[in-house]
Each structure stands twice: as C-alpha cells, then as structure tokens.
C-alpha cells in the first residue's frame, strides 16, 4: 500500500490570542484505512491570460472517490491570480503564492477542473492523487 500524507499548519496573530491549526491526513482510497491512493499525476504549467483551460479532466472512474488535488500558484506578483472552476462553478481565486488542497469528486464527465489566468501569465504546479484510473485507448 502506498502511504501519502498531507499535512497543513495554519498560524496567525490576527486574533488577540494565537491561532494555530495543524492536522495530517493519510490519503486513502474511498472508505478504507487499509489501502492508500496509489496513482498520481503531477504537472507545472504556464497559463496565459484570457482563456479557460482544462487542468484536469473528469472521468467516470473518479466518481465518488477520495481523489485529492493540490494546486499552487507560483507567480511572484501578488496581483496575478487564477480562477479555479469545477463544472462551470467558480470555486475561488488563487493568487500568486497561494496553494489549495481539495477533495475532488468527478461527479460526472463534465466535472472538469479548469483554470483561467488573470493579469498576466501565471505559473502553476499541481498534483492529483487518485485511484481507479485506466489509460484511455488511443483515439486517433
């Protein structure tokens, strides 16, 4: 079994007392504690402004699974951002330096994860941890 852990630490002084949240999860297949996610894809892309791009295509093999997606916007200009969209629904803006880590349920084949860059060409890194994917038959 592959063991992949994802840990987050949030710290802040914006309250009158310290805010500190820390947790770790082991990325397991859906509904198990005995079998870790055993597949991944990883990439780094330069995303030009003005066009929406499919970053990750949903497949029916991913429906109701415990897939995880990490995306980081590596842009160093804080005004740069990418809008992250799932199935035509805007999730949020990932500004330069920000990262996100979400579960991704490919509800249906239209549940693609898309990004659109703004202000300038944004550089992003991403990782998808998943299960149950078989390569598509060559189509051309």
């Amino acid at each position: 079994m592959a063991t992949t852990t994802a840990a987050v630490t949030l710290t802040s002084d914006l309250l009158s007392d310290a805010l500190s949240v820390s947790t770790t999860t082991t990325c397991m297949k859906a509904g198990t504690t005995a079998d870790g996610l055993d597949q991944m894809r990883m990439g780094r892309n330069e995303v030009p402004t003005g066009t929406s791009f499919d970053l990750l295509d949903a497949t029916t093999a991913g429906i109701d699974k415990a897939n995880k997606v990490y995306i980081a916007n590596l842009s160093t200009d804080e005004t740069y951002y990418v809008i992250v969209v799932i199935d035509a629904k805007v999730i949020g803006r990932l500004y330069g330096g920000d990262w996100m880590f979400i579960p991704w349920n490919m509800d249906d084949a239209t549940h693609d994860l898309e990004v659109t860059a703004y202000v300038g060409t944004n550089t992003i890194e991403w990782v998808k941890f998943h299960e149950n994917e078989t390569l598509a038959t060559q189509g051309d």
């Binding site: 994802a6 949030l10 509904g31 198990t32 991704w104």
Partner: protein, 247 residues
Amino acid sequence: MATTTATITINSTDLLTDELALTSTTTLTTAGTSTGVTQTTGLARKTMTFASSGVIDSEVLYRSDDYTADKANKVYIKNTSTTPAEYFEIMITGAGGTAGGGVTELGRLYAGDWAFFPWNATGGTKETFIATIAGTWVAGETWEFDGVNIAAANATVADIAAQIDAAQFPNWVTSRSGAAVTFVARESVDAGTVVTATADIVIVQSGGSDATSVVSSAAMGTKSLSDIYIKPSVHTGMTYETLLIHE
C-alpha cells in the same frame, strides 16, 4: 499587520520509486496586495446528527451574502471522523453539478481528511422594496411587518418612518429618506417573484384614520452563487471543524 500563514507538506516514500516531498507556505493576504488578511470566523467545531428514519440534509457552512465577492478568502474544513466510510460532501451553490439542483459538489472529505481552498463568495441579489408611510395617522396606531410591531409615537409620517427604520428586523435591514423606508433582505433568495406587497404590512387604525404604508419599487432577489454546503454521509453524529479567513 496580521500575519497568517498556511503551510502544506505532502510526503510519500513509496507512491513513486523515489521519494515525494512537497512543501509550500503562503502568507494569506488580501486580494492583489501584500497586506495580510485581518478577519476570521475563528475555528469552529460542529456535530451533525439526523434521525435514523429521516433524510440526511446539508447545512450552510458559509453564506456568500455575509462576505465580499472576488476576494482572497480561504476556507479550511476537516472531517474529524475516524470511521473510514464516513465522509462529508462539500458543495457550492451555483450552476452545474449533479449533487442537487444548482449545486456543484467539490468532493468528499473522508475520515481524517481536510481541505483548504480559496472561496469566491459570490452572493446573489437581495430583494428590496420601499414602504412609504402616508395618509393621516393617529398616535398609537400600529404598523407591523416581519414580526416587528411599531406603535406610532405621533402623527408625523416621517417620524413614524424613523421609528420603523430604527427597529431591528429579523430578515431585513432598512434605511430611510423622509417618509420612505427602504427594506433590503438580509439574505438573497430566488423566490421566482417579488415576495413582499402592501398587503404584507398590517396597519391597525383607530377610528377615522386613513393611515397607509404602500409598498413600491419592489425588486426580486436572486439566489446566492457560492454558498458552501456540507452534508454528512450517515445519520449518526459526524463532526467537522472549519475556519474561514476572509477580508
């Protein structure tokens, strides 16, 4: 300036033939700036439980109307369950998706899983209307709407409007210009039509009075486009923790 940092570390020694080690730290700033975010809901924890015979329903985790759209808000959610099969569905309202009408499912947070993501908080349009106090009033006559009852302190319509404006309504906020009180719904709802009409305001007149409160300029609301819903997978208690950092 407040400094809030979020660090993620992803490790695996055996998913690939070589070790995977990824770390990223971001300082949470307001949209398009290097100024730190200054507001948070604080860390919250809640258990959702449903009767075994009932339907498992979702609840609103964060309502877009309460925040500002197109900002650098960040949401943290954790499923504290230790039972492997138990998961929370995280959903966002708006177009698309098959998790329910107008709801997009982000994904399933299984036992021990957590998520951290930006949130656009795009609210809807709130229903509005103007109630104009007119006619001849007598001190002591009452005006009632949204469960709030006001007794006119005197016969002057502008003063009565001021009394209404000063009241606190469960579902509306108000402003005033002369004898006209503008009502704005606290939450955006797509009711398909303008909900409020003159008949919804009850005036109890005394003898000989022709006091009125006419509703005009009513505009229909539209639904919020990015409320965050959370729905457990089982009826028995499931607990989540959450934190919203926003501007």
